[in-house]
Symmetry: C2
Subunit: 339 residues, 2 copies
DNA sequence: TTGAAAGCGCTAACAA
DNA sequence: TTGTTAGCGCTTTCAA
């Protein structure tokens, strides 16, 4: 004998009003006399009534869900971003439908699910949305924002950290510290962001390279993250300190590099080389690292993502927006003036 | 001129079958001839039909959503757990509805939302669910699992790491390393888990305390996380190394302690003191720390949580299950035999 | 195996 | 301000 679900009708009956009055009371939509309102609220409380959002959304043709695509949440930068995104989604009155994807296929399935849920928006922090999906989104009028990646879909908005500005800051900082043998450390299978950072870094030191006042090389780590940094440091410095100014695609790689250089050869930053990361994850500020880095403003990124979502919800055919979020140099020990 | 949504009826019309046939095809429910099935699938593809999960769920009186309550996702351990939970939820065929809560009030609102979404289950990793909520869940037959915390609600299942076993492992390890001046480092506003760990640690060394072969003290950090560890190390070791065997409530605190002791007094682990953490977050394995720790099996925790959810979905009135997940000692540099 | 029909619980246009 | 009513798109008996 299962208890029947409590519906708006039950509340209406108890309160002696119509179902519509109950609906109005709970969605603060349309006018309802204060007295009626109170009766409804009271009856609802007595019965333990809970609006059925499924029915509500079905009727409104839209759920108050926002789909959020992510991957390897455990990554410090991603988890930081994720936290802000979820909070912003909630603050905007939505609920976060979060999925972890590992492949393009995963992504496609996920996006399909999102459409099936009639989400109010989609935020993608990993993978490239297929063109087909974008078309569907246009048809369903679902706004889509990608974060820190590029897209060739003109109806998809972009929020990204200003990689160029960040790389320039890094370059300036290393040059100001009198570094002469510069390098950019990236992972073999790099992403859109890290490629952009490397390119901008080279551009920023191009003159000095031409002048022959500094040298430059790319360092490619075979493995990602901290472990990749450790390993590559051991290879690269095997025959002495080859670089005195290293810009890293991200903090984790930088921390690994620092540890690899220290544990294998007792080379240290900033005594033996200067190093700059990207992201400003919490570990960068641990005393063992004191990593100078380019800070991504995850809070601003999340805010902008939601803002764009809402804008496009209002005007679905507006042209693509690509929003560059300011980054900031965070000075710590790992860079010091050389002589 | 807005495009009309494509419904099962549209597909049925195009395929020349009934709406029911379409429904059956997409929910693999009830029998449908292969020929019909193909016609439906073809028509659906042609139209770009997507099942409306809202309507489906409304009808089934249950969505395939699982509500997931979390907080400060940026925390390394939490993000690790979260990743596994989301993946498990997906693997079980559900979607994760994730909310960040910061207060008891947040939690209550969130849980209400979950009920309104008619979720298939709720997983709580932060905060204590109010009794009222549990009652509602029973009525709505929504299974609830809490992770690494306690509850007095008998219809709520619990999955937790075996804190006692972990603390015992830590105690044994420190005693075996010949540590004599033991301490348990915790944060002032501690959680269920950290209290349990401390209590079990004391119990494990009780005999030795009575024998007077070892001493024991509690260290209380005023601030949480890494920063709390740094600060407390600076206070505690101001007049020399007071403890030679420290068990920490979590890894972050331990890493902070290591750095605080080193940067302020150049005291090092394991030369000057042994230290053991809890969780085994990635940083614990960074070369700068080499932290011996008690590993929580986040993957197993997530798996069990989902398993319990599904069990209770089948048998909603079964008695409470409290599942202890095995922990494991991970030996690294931070403990070494003393003389 | 298939179709007709009765909901699932809600919202919103309209009329009163 | 209120109630009536016609759906929202799907599932699922029941009968054919």
């Amino acid at each position: 004998m299962k208890a029947k679900n409590i519906t708006a009708q039950d509340v209406a009956d108890l309160a002696g009003v119509s179902r519509a009055a109950v609906s109005r009371t709970f969605s603060n939509n349309g006018s309802v006399a204060e007295a009626t309102r109170q009766k409804v609220l009271e009856a609802a409380k007595k019965l333990g009534y809970q609006v059925n959002i499924l029915a509500q959304s079905l009727n409104r043709q839209r759920s108050d869900l926002v789909g959020l695509v992510t991957t390897t949440t455990r990554d410090p930068f991603r988890s930081l971003l994720l936290e802000h995104l979820i909070k912003q989604i909630q603050q905007a009155g939505f609920q976060a439908l979060v999925t972890e994807v590992e492949s393009a296929e995963d992504l496609e399935q996920t996006l399909q699910k999102f459409i099936q849920f009639r989400v109010s928006g989609v935020i993608i922090t990993s993978g490239r949305p297929p063109a087909e999906f974008a078309k569907e989104c246009v048809r369903c009028e679902i706004p889509v924002v990608v974060i820190n990646r590029e897209t060739d879909l003109s109806n998809v908005d972009v929020v990204k950290s200003d990689n160029s500005a960040g790389a320039e800051l890094a370059a300036k900082t290393l040059l100001a510290a009198n570094c002469k043998r510069l390098a950019y450390l990236n992972v073999r299978n790099d992403t859109y962001s890290s490629t952009a950072r490397g390119a901008a870094f080279i551009k920023a030191i191009a003159e000095d390279i031409v002048d022959n006042t500094v040298s430059f090389e790319q360092i490619v780590a075979e493995y990602p993250r901290y472990e990749g940094g450790v390993k590559v440091a051991r290879q690269v410095f095997e025959n002495g300190v080859k670089y005195d100014g290293i810009f890293c695609a991200n903090d984790l790689l930088a921390c690994g590099f620092i540890d690899g250089a220290r544990s294998a050869f007792n080379y240290r930053a900033p005594d033996d080389f200067c190093i700059i990361g990207f992201d400003d994850i919490p570990v960068a500020n641990f005393e063992s690292y004191g990593l100078t880095t380019i800070r991504q403003d995850t809070s601003a990124i999340a805010k902008q993502a939601l803002a764009l979502l809402r804008q496009r919800a209002v005007q679905s055919d507006r042209s693509q927006v690509i929003q560059n979020i300011n980054v900031e140099l965070v000075k710590r020990r790992s860079v010091a003036k050389r002589n």
